[in-house]
């Protein structure tokens, strides 16, 4: 990643308002985001931070799952004694046990781990592919653009869960239900979103005079894309990313629920646990369904709040000057001097 090399036409170009100053081409966007976050107030601030905290907790839970969870996700006995089958919550198993006599608490914790892995993979995949395609399409245009747009729109036209299901069904057949597979099936759903956003702003940036200038100066496309478009685009991405992160959790669970997700013996997955729990619910066993369900909702909630908050903060049309009531100090009447009589009057 070469910083501004003297050959790069950065210096000459007037720092157009929509663009970060050349030097911060790559971090300017982020810096602006951070500034916006810091000056957030009121509801957006609340959503932003609540979301952030919940998401953080979720991540911690996932990362340190093995330390937090009392047992492994497939542990069914300890010290030779087998766990109760569908045992109600008690001292040893705070969240009870499942039909496979697994500890619900541990399953839930490890579920977070799985969710995080898939989430990160899915988001990264779709981010990389989507942004890349979007930039190329928006920057170069032409037939490449036309074809990509058509395909993406077509993908976009699919009901997204349906798309994920079909993709899951395809991938699962090819590679079996691994974490990667799940992530891929979800990725397919999100690529079009990134593509659209990125392409749009790439298009607008492309018309901008300074980019024209840069190209006129013979800047390599790669340089222009990296320094201008990317810096420009970076801002719209965080919102979508967090929103998708939330979505990814739900979609993964949806796949798992339909048995198209990760293989149950490979990892703990909330959707699968829920599908198994449906029977228990009808049999009045609430704990196997409640805790994974709750965990999922909270996790999704966290990321959604984060995304919403970011959106409020970053989206200018949603930004709003804080109302602070003004108290006018007592009036001091302006003194007047009337030259028509030529005497000063208070």
């Amino acid at each position: 990643m070469a910083q501004t090399t003297p050959t790069a036409p950065v210096g000459e170009t007037p720092a157009g308002p929509p663009l970060p100053a050349p030097r911060s081409a790559r971090f300017g966007g982020l810096r602006r985001i951070w500034a916006a976050i810091r000056e957030a107030r009121g509801v957006p601030r609340f959503m932003l931070w609540t979301g952030a905290v919940i998401s953080a907790l979720f991540v911690i839970l996932a990362l340190f799952g093995p330390l937090i969870a009392p047992y492994g996700f497939d542990t069914y006995q300890s010290g030779g004694t087998r766990f109760p089958k569908q045992g109600a919550p008690d001292g040893d198993h705070w969240f009870g046990t499942t039909v496979q006599s697994l500890d619900v608490l541990s399953r839930t914790v490890y579920g977070a781990r799985t969710a995080l892995e898939v989430m990160v993979l899915a988001v990264v995949f779709s981010l990389v592919i989507g942004v890349l395609l979007g930039l190329l399409s928006g920057y170069f245009g032409g037939w490449l653009d036309r074809i990509l747009v058509l395909v993406m729109d077509a993908l976009f036209a699919f009901p997204y869960l349906l798309l994920a299901i079909v993709a899951g069904f395809v991938f699962a057949g090819i590679a079996g239900g691994s974490i990667i597979t799940a992530a891929l099936s979800i990725t397919v759903v999100y690529i079009p979103q990134y593509f659209r956003v990125v392409r749009a702003s790439a298009l607008s940036a492309r018309e901008a005079t300074f980019v024209e200038a840069a190209r006129a100066m013979g800047a390599k496309p790669s340089v222009v894309i990296r320094k201008y478009l990317f810096g420009n685009v970076i801002q719209s991405v965080p919102v979508i990313t967090t929103m998708n992160a939330a979505d990814a959790i739900a979609t993964l669970a949806g796949l798992g629920f339909l048995g198209l997700g990760i293989q149950p013996t490979d990892a703990a997955e909330w959707g699968y646990d829920l599908s198994r729990a449906i029977d228990d619910v009808n049999a009045g066993m609430w704990w196997t369904c409640l805790y994974p369900g709750l965990a999922m909702i909270i996790a999704i909630l966290g990321f959604t709040l984060l995304g919403e908050g970011l959106n409020d903060v970053l989206n200018p049309t949603m930004r709003r000057r804080r109302i602070s009531k003004v108290l006018l100090p007592a009036h001091t009447r302006r003194r007047t001097v009337d030259a028509t009589e030529g005497t000063a009057a208070e």
């Binding site: 395909v151 729109d153 798309l163 069904f169 395809v170 057949g173 919403e308």
Partner: protein, 339 residues
């Protein structure tokens, strides 16, 4: 009215161009679906007979069923089936996808409509209030509600609802299903046509839980979109202008704010139908709802990709058509669109 002919003309022109634009999209969709289904492994025969027959027998049957025909051949057949609106015949139980749509579409339609009604009844007023009284209590609570409802997947809310309100599964009690003569394949309509009001009651009772679970999926988006658009339209210049003409505040909000907020809202809400169709798959599965979504899952499990292909195609086409209709509606509401 000198402008009458002009406007209708422009509207007609708009509709035609819009349709023309949809054609390549449809073609791409078809290719996508076809490719996906061919990448998908397995076939109905080894799925259903795999445990029973030896390899040679299986191969013979696969050949007999034409699963080893060359791709261009298969694609051509697929295109023909779409062109004839027949969408192919399922392998596992030899139903034409058209029949599936006709027989099970009614159920999905009922469910989706129910969900939309619920989402609209809750979402529109709340969204408007939230947008009008921004950052007040009503706004904050509604936003939290919308976020939660958005965060809770169908298969979490559904069981909980079942638990809470006593579960009802299927679109009606078997006897009701048995005794209502089939005319429109929309059970509730058939019951009404037959004048069997107990049946209608039974059907509606079964309809509530599924619609609510599915509706909760989109009500959040409803609220959010309506709110945002109202806020934005209330910031419009013509709002201040109207105030400057001394227009009553409630007219300013209603006539200028709400109405202008409506245009983008309709678009987004229309897109939600796609989301509903997706969610319907899960909902139908959970509530044993005999809709298209449930058929889809069945056929996926049977690896009947002729069926899956057909159903997915129909879903996709429906979405394309809907988005087209939305544009037409917008063209009606917003004169600018026509030009």
């Amino acid at each position: 009215m000198s402008n009458t002919s002009k406007q209708s003309g422009s509207l007609r022109r708009y509709v035609l161009t819009r349709i023309a634009l949809a054609v390549p999209m449809v073609l791409i969709l078809l290719v996508l679906v076809f490719v996906m289904m061919r990448v998908a492994p397995g076939d109905p025969i080894s799925a259903s007979q795999g445990g029973k027959l030896n390899a040679a027998e299986l191969a013979a049957r696969r050949h007999a069923a034409g699963f080893d025909a060359p791709l261009y051949q298969q694609f051509w057949d697929y295109l023909k089936s779409v062109a004839t609106l027949n969408f192919g015949t399922t392998f596992s139980d030899r139903r034409s996808v058209r029949d599936i749509i006709v027989e099970n579409g009614g159920a999905t339609l009922t469910l989706t409509a129910g969900a939309l009604v619920f989402a609209a009844v809750i979402g529109i007023p709340v969204g408007l209030l939230a947008g009008r009284y921004r950052d007040r209590a009503v706004d904050v609570t509604s936003r939290l509600f919308s976020t939660v409802s958005y965060a809770a997947p169908v298969f979490v809310t559904a069981p909980l609802l079942m638990l809470a309100f006593g579960s009802t599964s299927g679109q009606a009690s078997p006897l009701v299903q048995l005794n209502v003569p089939t005319q429109t394949h929309i059970l509730i309509l058939d019951a009404a046509l037959a004048g069997d009001w107990d049946a209608v009651g039974d059907i509606t009772q079964h309809l509530i839980l599924p619609s609510v679970s599915l509706g909760l999926l989109v009500v959040g988006v409803f609220i959010r979109m309506i709110r945002i658009n109202l806020i934005q339209s209330l910031q419009g210049d013509y709002i201040e202008a109207a105030r400057a003409r001394g227009v009553k505040e409630r007219h300013v909000v209603a006539r200028h704010g709400f109405r202008n907020a409506l245009v983008p809202v309709i678009t987004v809400l229309g897109l939600q139908v796609a989301m509903l169709l997706g969610g319907a798959v899960l909902t139908e599965q959970i509530f044993n709802w005999p809709g298209i979504g449930r058929q889809l899952i069945d056929y996926i499990n049977q690896r009947d990709y002729v069926a899956v292909q057909g159903i997915v195609t129909v879903f996709a086409l429906v979405v394309v058509v809907i988005s087209m209709l939305i544009d037409f509606v917008n063209a009606l509401i917003d004169p600018r669109v026509r030009y």
